[in-house]
Amino acid sequence: MLSTRLYEDFPTLKLKINGKRLVYLDSAASSLKPKRVVEKLKDFYYTSYSNVHRAVHTLASQATVELEESREKFANFLGVSPEEIVFTSGTTMSINLVVVSLLRSGFLKEDDLVLVSLLEHHANFVPWLRLSKFHGYKVDYIKPSGRFGTLELDDLLKFRKARPKVVAITGLSNVTGQRLPVEELRNVFPDSIIVLDGAQLVPHERVKPEEIGVDFLVFSLHKMLGPTGVGVLYGRREFLEQMEPFLYGGEMIDRVTLENVTFNELPYKFEAGTPNIAGIVASKEALIYLEEMGFEEIRRRTRKLTELAVDGLKQIDGVEIYGPLDERQQGIVSFNVKGIHPHDVAHILDQEFGVAVRSGHHCAQPLIELLKKQSTLVEFPNSTCRASFYIYNTEDDVETFVEGVKKIKEWFTR
């Protein structure tokens, strides 16, 4: 059973979906929001809202203080300094910023090698690939050799001698749920710029970029109880200092003349224009909520649910589950049911059982192609069903979900 507190904190959980209790298993796409975050958004807009950094009036000062408190909170969370925390609109914007700024400042040049894995979602794939067409650097792919898209340490080690300029890799796959050995990255690639996509990892785990030695870490708040439209980009100071901005405009400048401009100090140099002020301020509340629960507890809880879901689905004949299916799998279970398209599974789970899961290719087409090759299904549907768990899910939820899949299977094959 879910604790009364969680039930009260997340009003969405009280919804009835087609007469059934909502079982929300789509947190990898976006998490539900606690009252604390929504109330903060409302209160901030009503009592403290103004633009930030520019004016001297009282409201502007209050808003600026609140925004900077949020930055400090995230800096503490990651164990870095506030100047290294850039607020963006999300993971996609952060990765685009990193790629373009590395190029503009000469860190990444023609003929350099960028390594990405086949596990990446499109946000950490498309920017690297597309910009290589214009800038002439090479992109190569780390191919997972393990069970259904599972990346093994050996797959990384194969590239040890390739001396990539950049290694851009996810910390946790949004399709298979595999938690990658991110602590090994620096050992394997001692001289590379390491960009860690934490979109799925950071909601489940406290990541310390300096300790594990990554140069950039990106994640989005909407997957960890916060509002949409807020992303955090950590960048190691020596890079941020030397990097050319991605967006030009207000706030990010120092002095503008008719001949040239100089840039503001860190991190404002990378925050052109008016940011999502209320969203950034309310993001702090999301982080406080998660810290109160404790990331160890979050990890333990979602790992337990993942294990239960895998065990439950394994009992159903004709279900193919992707990913490692061991302790490396965290919060996400992707699967297909033989002969039934994932859209149909997802639609009926919703209509008949009140269970919300995602179906589709999860913005990770290269990985889906790999799964297709390894699949034993006669017709692989170019997509999967994905159940993803977060702090407000329970063992009851998993039971309802597994029972639903079982009934759908029986119903379709009767």
Binding site: H341, H343, D344, H347, Q351, Q365, P381
Partner: protein
């Protein structure tokens, strides 16, 4: 209900599946966010759809829709096909439509209640629309 016996029968039917060797027009359709793909084969002579087949995999909604569509348009003049496509679009989007023109296809009218599934239903129709446009241009 989107999963009635009739709809399941159409989705599982092999009647209109496969490649049409003497097709005069072939078109590929995709639902980008789902990964669903369809290849539609049309044999058109003297402005009349003589035969049609489709290949591809997809959900029940998309497969039933393709079967129903093909059943309805074989033997129709191209100009009638255009108005059938229009009526199917209206039905899927919850507008008023001519039931007579759609015939059996109306068993899927419930799709209007599931906005996320409308694109599944429309995949084959959009693909057909592409073929017809190309044919009318040439």
């Amino acid at each position: 209900m989107m999963y009635s016996e009739a709809i399941l029968d159409y989705a599982n039917s092999k009647r209109f599946r496969g490649r049409l060797e003497d097709a005069t027009a072939v078109e590929e359709g995709k639902n980008i966010s789902c990964g669903d793909e369809i290849i539609l084969y049309l044999k058109v002579e003297d402005g009349v759809v003589k035969d049609t087949r489709f290949e591809g995999i997809g959900c029940v909604i998309s497969q039933a829709s393709a079967s129903l569509m093909i059943e309805r348009i074989i033997g129709e003049k191209l100009k009638n096909v255009i108005s059938i496509i229009e009526e199917a679009e209206k039905m899927a989007k919850g507008g008023s439509f001519d039931e007579k023109k759609l015939g059996n296809i109306t068993i899927m009218s419930d799709v209007k209640n599931y906005p996320a599934r409308v694109k599944c239903f429309l995949l084959s129709w959009r693909t057909l629309d592409q073929v017809i446009r190309k044919l009318s241009q040439s």
